[in-house]
């Protein structure tokens, strides 16, 4: 059988078109039936592309690094800590924040669907929702972390949190020693989404 990359690409594009056309067909029917507001699509784009994102979680992390009382609250009752910030556009039933230490590294997944702490991290990245990450990170987390360029010492324990109910998990990463003199605002601008999912160690 000959292998034609162009043809393969065409087939992939065809597959991509299947849900796209059907999604917009359904959208038009829902609008006609008065179920969907025509402006709602632009509203969700504005809301999730511009207002909700990992900057919310980064603010929590930066505050925890500079304020010991807040850090204690964040780890004891993440939901209450989030409520104090009054982030716009997201809500969470219950947030549990898990802390990375020199002995323990935490990483978050949802193997059954794609549960994610939207209120603090915004839209999940594509890889978080893909079968490859969901199947592998529970079984071989160290190999998965290496694919993200993250190498852990052999004596560090890896704790994987599989979000199987309504509780959402976020990682409090370790603060790099080189960031000792940065302000809270500077710290928040350097905290990455991937470090709060747990696939990256900040340096």
């Amino acid at each position: 059988m000959t292998h034609d990359p162009d043809q393969e690409q065409d087939q992939q594009d065809d597959h991509a078109a299947e849900p796209a056309i059907r999604a917009e067909a359904l959208e038009s029917l829902l609008i006609e039936k008065g179920i969907l507001d025509p402006a709602a699509v632009d509203e969700v784009i504005e809301r999730y592309n511009e207002r909700v994102g990992p900057m919310n979680g980064a603010q929590l992390v930066a505050r925890a690094w500079v304020d010991e009382d807040f850090r204690a609250l964040l780890l004891r009752d993440g939901t209450e800590a989030v409520n104090r910030f009054e982030f716009r556009g997201g809500q969470v039933d219950k947030l549990v924040v898990v802390e990375n230490t020199p002995a323990v590294h935490n990483v978050v997944v949802c193997t059954l669907c794609s549960c994610y702490p939207w209120a603090v991290l915004g839209l999940p990245p594509k890889w978080y929702k893909d079968p490859a990450y969901r199947s592998r990170v529970v079984r071989e987390p160290r190999a998965v972390l290496r694919e993200f360029g993250t190498r852990l010492d052999d004596d560090v324990s890896v704790r994987v949190w599989d979000s199987s109910a309504e509780i959402r998990y976020m990682v409090l990463p370790e603060r790099p020693p080189a960031w000792a003199d940065l302000s809270e605002e500077q710290l928040a601008s350097r905290v990455t989404r991937d470090s709060m999912i747990g696939v990256e160690v900040l340096a």
């Binding site: 056309i21 359904l26 969700v44 059954l112 079968p131 993200f148 994987v160 599989d162």
Partner: protein, 229 residues
């Protein structure tokens, strides 16, 4: 329910596409169309609750589950729920999609069945419910998970069945997805976080000292496990 959605620990999967998340955004536009449609289905009661929605995702065509992406899965669930509610027919969506250039050979993710009796749109707020009954298990206690797959929606992944773990947290009562998805009411149950040693779940997996997998599991999934001798 066993199914393609239950991805945890499935062997043979591809490398992680680590570059695919650089800028998470609702792009292309149809992703946002599906997102807004799902919001509208919750507002109208067609998506009666999150558990019914998740179960609708679990029931879509397995090949489409893997190939149509996250919003493709949501689309399959949206169509499933709309047809089950009798609001729109599959033929109606087929006709509209063909007007817009879809082929009759296109694969459709939705697999509508029958809308459960007793499914009523409920409170869209928190699913936490304080229970009068005390939790059966204490922090530090060993428990064993259920062995059998439930026929419908459940939040006990296959990889953690018939496995022994330790209770590390208790989270009060929560709406029980296994009942709620099927119109059998909220049936709230105590919820715990159970820590499993990864080496006990997958003895042949990579080495890692003290590595654990933590899952949030409802009390009906658990039974007492005697302490190791």
């Amino acid at each position: 329910m066993d199914g393609i959605h239950d991805q945890g620990g499935r062997p043979g999967n591809a490398p992680i596409d680590t570059d695919s998340g650089a800028a998470a955004a609702l792009d292309p536009r149809w992703h946002a169309a599906v997102f807004a449609s799902i919001n509208a289905l919750f507002a109208s009661g067609v998506a009666a609750n999150t558990d019914y929605f998740r179960h609708a995702i679990e029931r879509i065509d397995p090949d489409c589950y893997l190939e149509h992406g996250y919003y493709g899965r949501w689309l399959g669930a949206a169509e499933t729920m709309l047809v089950e509610a009798g609001v729109i027919s599959t033929a109606e969506i087929d006709a509209r999609a063909r007007e817009r250039g879809a082929s009759s050979a296109d694969r459709v993710a939705a697999r509508p069945g029958t809308r459960p009796e007793g499914l009523t749109p409920g409170d869209a707020g928190s699913a936490q419910r304080t229970l009068a009954a005390a939790p059966r298990y204490a922090i530090g206690e060993r428990v064993r998970t259920a062995r059998d797959a439930q026929p419908g929606h459940t939040r006990l992944p296959a990889y953690a069945r018939d496995a022994v773990g330790t209770v590390i947290a208790w989270h009060d009562g929560w709406v029980f997805p296994d009942s709620h998805a099927h119109g059998r009411g909220e049936d709230p149950q105590h919820l715990y976080t159970i820590a499993f040693e990864r080496s006990a779940l997958w003895p042949d997996s990579e080495a890692g000292p003290g590595d654990t997998v933590c899952l949030d599991l409802f009390e009906p999934y658990l039974c007492p496990e005697p302490d190791a001798p």
